[in-house]
Symmetry: C2
Subunit: 273 residues, 2 copies
């Protein structure tokens, strides 16, 4: 017997309550706007053989891949992010990839878990978007209830082992007189992609048409607004796919791992981890 919750039901829940609802499959929706003030994370689970190179890859590409937590091999806990996390059940929707190809979308990965897997948590853009909104900088895709537009760029990533490729960015149109404020605010969150990667002309970073994003939804750029580009957490997912690992598990877009770490904390490590 499972109670089913809507997004609205959970808006006032704590991160721990939200994880409990997700764990029991009482909530399988996206996590945007939930557990206010707590760090949410992109997720990558991969075999230990590849973990050293993947951590090197993240260290070398800190803007798209801000490392905020790493599990012990075979251990589904992430005590530095929250004392009760079981990564097999605590994300509302996962994507499983086998040999680099999408296999299935599931709400529980217990049957895929093994002693060989390492969990890697990476920061996500919700953190700086919340900060932009709190400071009166508009975020168009949130205003209009869409998914952020994401684009492949011509910006090379620093390779590590089998991991390489080009950076993926998100784009948010920002009023010209608020661009410097948006830069300053997002720069305060290095664990969540930090300051923008580029500003203005999309062709400078290899984007041919802002109206045709590679992922997500196109958004309107109004007169007096400048397109601003941030490094995106789809970058590591894309790179993992390209490496065609025997198995790799990620969260589904928007269905993030919700931690107990405060978005404004100096580090992403809980004081009594």
């Amino acid at each position: 017997m499972t109670t089913s919750y809507s997004h609205a039901d959970l808006v006032a829940s704590t991160a721990s309550q939200l994880r409990a609802a997700i764990r029991s499959d009482s909530y399988t929706g996206h996590t945007a706007g939930l557990a206010a003030g707590k760090l949410q994370c992109n997720l990558a689970i991969l075999p230990e053989t590849y973990a050293l190179d993947f951590l090197r890859f993240c260290q070398r590409n800190p803007k798209p891949c801000p490392l905020v937590g790493v599990g012990d091999t075979g251990n589904p806990a992430l005590p530095t992010l929250a004392p009760d996390i079981d990564i097999r059940t605590d994300v509302s929707k996962y994507r499983v990839f086998l040999d680099g190809a999408f296999s299935e979308e599931v709400t529980d990965i217990s049957q895929h878990w093994s002693d060989d897997l390492v969990t890697v948590a990476l920061g996500c853009s919700f953190t700086f978007e919340n900060a932009l909104l709190r400071n009166g900088v508009p975020v168009r895709h949130i205003e209009t209830g869409r998914n952020v537009p994401m684009y492949r760029t011509n910006i090379d990533l620093v390779p590590a082992g089998p991991f390489s490729g080009k950076m993926v960015v998100t784009m948010r149109p920002i009023p010209e007189d608020q661009v410097s404020q948006a830069i300053e605010i997002s720069a305060r969150y290095p664990q969540a992609h930090g300051a923008p990667i580029a500003i203005g002309d999309p062709s400078e970073i290899g984007i041919s048409d802002l109206a045709s994003p590679d992922w997500g939804d196109a958004v309107e750029i109004r007169p007096g607004e400048i397109p601003v580009y941030w490094a995106c957490g789809v970058t590591p997912q894309n790179v993992l796919l390209g490496a065609a690992l025997p198995i790799c598990i990620t969260h589904s877009p928007g269905h993030m791992l919700v931690s107990d770490v405060a978005e404004d904390a100096e580090t992403t490590i809980l004081p009594n981890a």
Copy 2:
């Protein structure tokens, strides 16, 4: 035929010129006050078998172990820190440890290098000390030409594999009315230990006598000054020793790896790495 340089000879040299002098054994001294404005690094070189756990350890203990660069296995280059680094020759003095015991201090580790070794570079306190001095906050051990006092504490580190232990801290006496400024300034440098770990009473973090540091030199605490404690790069060295790896190589205290990365850069990754 080798020209020998003094510390004073190199004060105006670039980081690259300084590395060249060190590489040719023309300079074997400490690097404090050299290559102004460039990030200097603590060094740990260890076998690949232990590297994944050591990177997990650093990720989980970001205050004492801020990860600023990681080499490929067997490769002495660190292109994200400077294009020309050869880690076998570019540090002025190394310490070699075999099975957890000190073996020798050398100026070149070419004869110890192997295809199995991984280089890890960690941020160091020079960065925030320079920022304190630039902003008029006195740093006693620098004023008096001493080594910073370092103390074992009772603060548990978050373990990873064979790596665990207690945090080591440095102490700097700061005038009471400048403590909040010192906190704010050092917090800007998460790649260099960031904000202090503790302030005031040493017994709160398990230090029994400030006059008897475990490493370095005691410094005077004058009336109106408060002892302020920062996480210290000796922590990972200490933890590596405790793990008794078959081989482990570190820099000698004060003889840091000098990078081309600006101390004020948003990340420690060079733009064209």
